[in-house]
């Protein structure tokens, strides 16, 4: 990695972290049931990832900026595991399984939504 790549990763990181913090602190969505902030962030990240995969960039700087920098810092896997861990601690096993399936299914739907959106536009 050279200085340009490092700067690009840092720029993507900063933007991803700020956006995650803003969504975590401000966005509240209720569609019949509460969607937790971390899940919303991960759904949005999956949508962006779908777009990125469909665009199939060969340019390393764009991959550094979006995939490693922005999406890497915007989405969070450990917080998703923590949500499941909290449910496990409370012994709410049905909610744990439901939440797990919900996150995986919606994330993949968002991913393919972004992916096919770009395929249609192309």
């Amino acid at each position: 990695m050279n200085i340009t790549s490092i700067s690009i990763v840092l720029f993507g990181c900063t933007f991803g972290l700020i956006l995650r913090t803003l969504i975590q602190n401000n966005l509240k969505i209720y569609i019949g049931f509460n969607i937790q902030h971390i899940s919303i962030i991960n759904f949005i990240a999956s949508f962006f990832l779908g777009i990125l995969v469909a665009l199939n960039f060969m340019n390393y700087n764009i991959l550094f900026l979006f995939f490693i920098g922005f999406l890497g810092c915007f989405s969070t896997f450990s917080s998703f595991i923590y949500q499941l861990f909290v449910l496990l601690q409370k012994r709410e096993f049905v909610r744990l399984i439901f939440h797990y399936i919900e996150v995986i299914v919606i994330s993949f739907s968002c991913f393919y939504l972004g992916y096919y959106l770009i395929q249609i536009i192309k």
């Binding site: 900063t14 972290l17 810092c73 989405s75």
Partner: protein
């Protein structure tokens, strides 16, 4: 104080990102991240310290998009059964690792 705390969060995020790039393996990264997360939540840190470690470091260290990309490749190359196996295996393993980190932290304290 808040500006200082935000700068520390940003620095922790940069450090985490470079560590992630250096390790370059999403599976190992997720395991380390879950262990650390479990360890940290069992400790009673101040709010700002917890923000720096959890929101700054661990959240930027582990990547959900990397996990989804891995599952997408498995789904495309090896089919639905392996996709189900790997997604369950990674999540259950990470849950246990987080619990292990939590348990160690409690034992130490």
């Amino acid at each position: 104080m808040k500006i200082r705390s935000n700068i520390y969060i940003l620095l922790a995020c940069y450090l985490a990102t470079f560590l992630r790039v250096f390790i370059n393996n999403n599976f190992i990264v997720s395991i380390i991240g879950s262990l650390l997360f479990g360890f940290v939540i069992a400790k009673r840190f101040s709010h700002s310290k917890e923000q720096i470690i959890v929101s700054g470091f661990i959240s930027c260290f582990t990547s959900f998009s990397g996990f989804i990309y891995f599952l997408y490749k498995i789904f495309n190359q090896e089919g639905f059964i392996k996709f189900i196996f790997w997604s369950n295996f990674i999540i259950i393993l990470n849950l246990f690792i987080m619990y292990f980190g939590f348990w160690i932290s409690r034992k130490i304290t």
